[in-house]
């Protein structure tokens, strides 16, 4: 059985990082959250986003679910929740969810504190106080089965389906074999490959639910009277040799490996520990998709890219994997592992084992390229009108 050196949490699986999260509930509190993290130091990370102060009810629920998930991610040891004070998104509900996971949490209300400067001041003090309580925590040996591994692809090209995704898929298979959880998402990128995933679903009800979700994403494009071409594959994907969504999807789903599909959860919903391969229903936008899985509990993310992406995440380390030899060279400083060697004859098993070894090293504290450069993109999926309508119908 494989293991990693992680941080015990009072509840839930071990963390691979030990952060104080500063979580704004709306765009109106994001600048203050950023300023707090900036001033409080390296172990304090903010999650700024663009969500408004009064979203429709279903959208608000998704925002609260996402922020609560971020605050209870195993990599977060304590949190400060920041609100302006006009939001319908409930800072107390987010803080309660974090407290329920046995983390210390404080709520900062900008209007009550007397404005931005006073709030930043108070926030820095709170973050430092919270940090002092968890700073002494040391890494101890943890079973790999505690890991929830989020996998993502972005800036895909033909090498994604040939090299980087199969290598990451092999790492997912290894983790699932060791008792952990692997998750991938972006339902619109199942289109054309859903029959393969459906055949691997553990139950008939799961199979039906998966096909319904794919159908919904596909019909959304049809309803709007547009096709997916132009957006899927994107112009960049097309330049990289991907002609159709089917081709992109067939290459994309291999990043989840070959084990049975054991579940499908909503955006930012909790991913099970020791759950095998579990899919998350998200849109096909990398940053939001990564954030959804981190909110679901993923401690580590692998991000495959053919054409080159530099993106990271404030809470979970993001391992950049490329199968494109030109990208491996041009973007060497943003990549963590080069599996373009597969094109020259390295087996997928061997390259995938290297990814799995790196996953355990990163889980044990090794910094990724995105972490070293403090690349910490964060965005929450905003429900679209057709999704809101569907949620209202099914409520």
């Amino acid at each position: 059985m494989e293991s990693f050196a992680g941080f015990d949490r009072p509840s839930g699986p071990a963390g691979v990082r030990n952060y104080v999260a500063v979580i704004p509930v709306s765009v109106a509190a994001s600048a203050v959250a950023d300023a707090i993290a900036e001033r409080a130091g390296e172990q304090v990370h903010s999650t700024p986003h663009q969500m408004g102060t009064d979203p429709p009810e279903q959208a608000r629920e998704q925002i609260e679910r996402t922020l609560s998930g971020i605050g209870t991610n195993p990599n977060v040891g304590a949190a400060v929740v920041v609100e302006l004070g006009t939001e319908s998104t409930d800072a107390d509900a987010v803080a309660d969810a974090i407290a329920d996971a046995d983390r210390d949490v404080e709520v900062l209300r900008i209007r009550e504190r007397g404005g931005t400067s006073a709030s930043v001041e108070a926030g820095v003090e709170a973050a430092n106080r919270l940090w002092a309580d968890i700073a002494g925590l040391e890494r101890t040996e943890q079973d790999a089965s505690q890991l929830i591994f989020g996998v993502e692809c972005g800036g895909s090209d033909a090498t994604s389906g040939i090299a980087s995704n199969p290598a990451v898929g092999r790492a997912c298979d290894r983790l699932v074999e060791d008792g952990g959880t692997a998750s991938f998402s972006e339902t619109s990128e199942f289109i054309g490959a859903e029959h393969i995933l459906a055949d691997r679903c553990e139950s008939e009800s799961l199979r039906e639910r998966l096909l319904e979700r794919v159908d919904f994403r596909e019909s959304a494009a049809q309803l709007m009277g547009v096709d997916l071409r132009g957006a899927q594959p994107s112009p960049g994907n097309q330049e990289g040799g991907l002609t159709t969504i089917e081709e992109k999807s067939l290459g994309a789903i291999v990043k989840g490996g070959t084990t049975p599909v054991r579940g499908l959860v909503d955006y930012a919903d909790s991913l099970p520990v020791g759950g095998g391969l579990v899919l998350m229903d998200t849109p096909g936008y990398d940053i939001e998709s990564v954030v959804g899985k981190v909110a679901g509990g993923a401690q580590v993310v692998a991000f495959t890219t053919g054409r080159g992406s530099t993106t990271g995440n404030p809470i979970a380390p993001v391992i950049k994997v490329t199968g494109n030899p030109k990208t491996a060279e041009r973007l060497a400083s943003n990549m963590d592992i080069d599996v373009s060697t597969i094109l020259e004859g390295e087996s997928i098993e061997s390259a995938g084992d290297r990814v799995y070894d790196l996953l355990l090293e990163v889980a044990s504290g090794k910094r990724t390229a995105a972490e070293l450069r403090r690349l910490e993109e964060f965005a929450i999926n905003e429900l679209q009108p057709n999704e809101l309508a569907q949620l209202r119908e099914s409520a």
Binding site: A158, T159, Q222, L228, Q238, T244, I245
Partner: protein, 104 residues
């Protein structure tokens, strides 16, 4: 790597595929051994892009990964570049009215 590189030029991911993926930039005139014969590459094809192994008529399925990735929209000769100019998705086509073309 899954599949087989034919003649050091293109990767055939499944034996049933009728296209290969260029594993480097390919010049016109390159030769791909296929099905006991040879396919001459007719035009320069960039790294990662696809080359037809067989003749495809408009509407014929294009296969990669042993799966359907789209249909030919015009006649494609063996050795020609296969991409958005001559191959289209059959999915997510909101631009096509119901019944006009199969949306399977």
């Amino acid at each position: 790597m899954k599949g087989e590189v034919l003649g050091g030029v293109g990767l055939q991911m499944s034996r049933h595929d009728n296209v290969v993926t260029a594993i480097d930039d390919v010049e016109a005139g390159a030769v791909i051994p296929y099905d006991g014969g040879e396919v001459g590459v007719e035009e320069a094809v960039p790294f990662g892009h696809k080359i037809a192994l067989v003749e495809l008529a408009p509407g014929d399925e294009v296969h990669k990964y042993g799966e359907v990735i789209g249909r030919a929209t015009e006649r494609i000769e063996p050795g020609q570049w296969v991409h958005t100019h001559n191959c289209r998705s059959t999915r997510g086509r909101g631009d096509i009215a119901d019944g006009e073309e199969e949306v399977a």
